[in-house]
């Protein structure tokens, strides 16, 4: 990972524009639950739904808590699997 670079500029979640420093601040306050980090910071809630940032985030939590990566529970993956336009979704149905 790239923690040697300027910390303030290291973006961990690019969809939601959240830096590594912001995440470390929450983790240092004791928020080491992925579900909680997601809800309080929006990390992993962007258009890619965490496909980019969740693995990085899990590494961070593992490092901070000393737990092995495999023991960090993942958040629930929700539909749809890729972002779809409302117009496309509406297309299949007749409506008034």
């Amino acid at each position: 990972m790239c923690q040697e670079k300027d910390k303030n500029l290291t973006i961990l979640c690019r969809c939601e524009d959240i830096t590594l420093d912001e995440i470390r601040e929450y983790i240092n306050q004791g928020v080491t639950d992925l579900e909680q980090l997601k809800r309080l910071l929006r990390v992993g809630m962007g258009p890619c739904q965490g496909r980019t940032c969740t693995p990085l985030l899990i590494n961070e939590i593992a490092r901070a808590t000393g737990r092995p990566v495999k023991d960090i529970p993942l958040t629930v993956f929700r539909q749809p699997t890729t972002a779809v336009k409302l117009g496309v979704l509406a297309g299949g149905i007749n409506h008034e």
Partner: protein, 382 residues
């Protein structure tokens, strides 16, 4: 782990956290809040995050009005360093039938007596408020600019942090297995981590309150009903108010983050514990939303999820004690509108639990109304 507490609050949603804070603020000590997963893992973290004063009964109008006034100063009151993202962009409630028009005018009458700044708007005026609204078939609407949105995760976090600062102990990932009682009074709760002895239990576990009450033979008339909801990618701010249509069973709001949150009520939903999102919901939601708000067709859905309404027979919460049973207090059955009234509900419940006179009457929400057959009917809910 075996321990004792003066008060055990079951449920780490917005209601439990608001009650915990309000009890502690009034000087109550030795309070433990128990949550089986993480805070906001229940309905609170799954909700539409809308807050409104526009109800049809005086009681609900007052509960909601007081709560919204509390949201206005909540960060300060709770000493929250972060933002609860409170936005007052209003609620536009659409009327499509003569019956709705009549009901909305009645509601306005109730609201105006209480000083709620709501008003009737024509379809043309509705379009001025929401320029991308399709007014086809619309007879008019009511609008209240004080209504809006608030972030449920942050609000709950704010209450929880303030409660902890006042000495409340919050235990997450701890599940209450059963309530313990003897001779008609509460003696404790049994959790998966041991027993906590306590003379007072506050039950605010959403739909699960029914299962917990059943462990001491109290039969709560609460049924879980799945409600689905979705969120789009964030875009530039383009819609101030929540748009809500009881006719379409739909609500849709752009939150301060820029994304649109929207949901539907499904009258045919089976009553059961179900958290799965369905493909039909995506279709139907998209069809209705793009009919009412056509430009939204270009927005991408990034996530859909489901949560439970804890429905009571009259779709109104149960607040208060259980007659003939010492030490049990109920705050459950919010039936889909519990987030917006959490600030005032927490305050009223704390007053009630401590035996004080409540700042607003709560007797119409008591548990025995179902046995007496005195249902409380609120005309203005999805």
């Amino acid at each position: 782990m075996n321990k004792t507490a003066d008060y055990v609050i079951i449920g780490g949603g917005v209601i439990g956290c608001s009650i915990a804070y309000n009890l502690a603020k009034k000087g109550a000590k030795n309070i433990v809040l128990i949550e089986k997963k993480y805070l906001t893992s229940g309905a609170t973290g799954r909700c539409g995050a809308g807050v409104r004063m526009q109800f049809g009964t005086e009681t609900n109008c007052l509960l909601a009005k007081n709560s919204i006034e509390m949201f206005e100063n909540l960060e300060e009151e709770l000493g929250y360093q972060d933002s609860i993202e409170f936005k007052q962009g209003g609620y536009l409630l659409l009327a499509y039938t003569e019956k709705m028009v009549e009901q909305f005018h009645k509601n306005l009458g109730v609201q105006h007596k209480l000083g709620i700044p709501s008003r009737w708007v024509t379809p043309e005026e509705s379009k001025e408020i929401v320029p991308h609204l399709n007014t086809q078939g619309l007879l008019g609407a009511t609008f209240c600019g004080k209504d809006g949105h608030c972030n449920p995760f942050k609000t709950t976090d704010a209450y929880a942090k303030a409660a902890e600062r006042l000495g409340v102990e919050i235990m997450t990932y701890t599940e209450v297995k059963q309530l313990l009682a003897q001779d008609g009074r509460i003696t404790g709760v049994e959790t998966d981590k041991g027993v906590i002895e306590t003379p007072v239990v506050v039950l605010c576990a959403g739909s699960y309150s029914r299962d917990l009450a059943a462990t001491i033979d109290i039969d709560l008339p609460i049924t879980p009903e799945r409600h689905q909801i979705l969120v789009t990618e964030p875009v530039e701010m383009m819609q101030g108010p929540m748009v809500m249509s009881f006719y379409h069973g739909l609500y849709c709001q752009q939150v301060p983050h820029g994304s649109f949150v929207m949901g539907l009520g499904d009258p045919n939903e089976p009553k059961e514990y179900n958290f799965n999102g369905s493909w039909q919901f995506l279709h139907e939601m998209a069809a209705k939303a793009t009919f009412l708000l056509p430009p939204l067709a270009n927005l991408r859905v990034v996530r859909q999820w489901a949560g439970l309404y804890d429905l009571t027979p009259d779709r109104q919460q149960i607040l208060g004690s259980v007659p003939g049973f010492e030490g049990v207090h109920l705050a459950a059955g919010f039936s889909g509108h519990g987030f917006m009234i959490a600030p005032m509900t927490g305050k009223l419940m704390a007053e009630h639990i401590l035996g004080e006179e409540t700042s607003l009457p709560i007797s119409m929400f008591d548990f025995s109304r179902f046995a007496r057959g005195e249902l409380f009917v609120e005309p203005s809910v999805v």
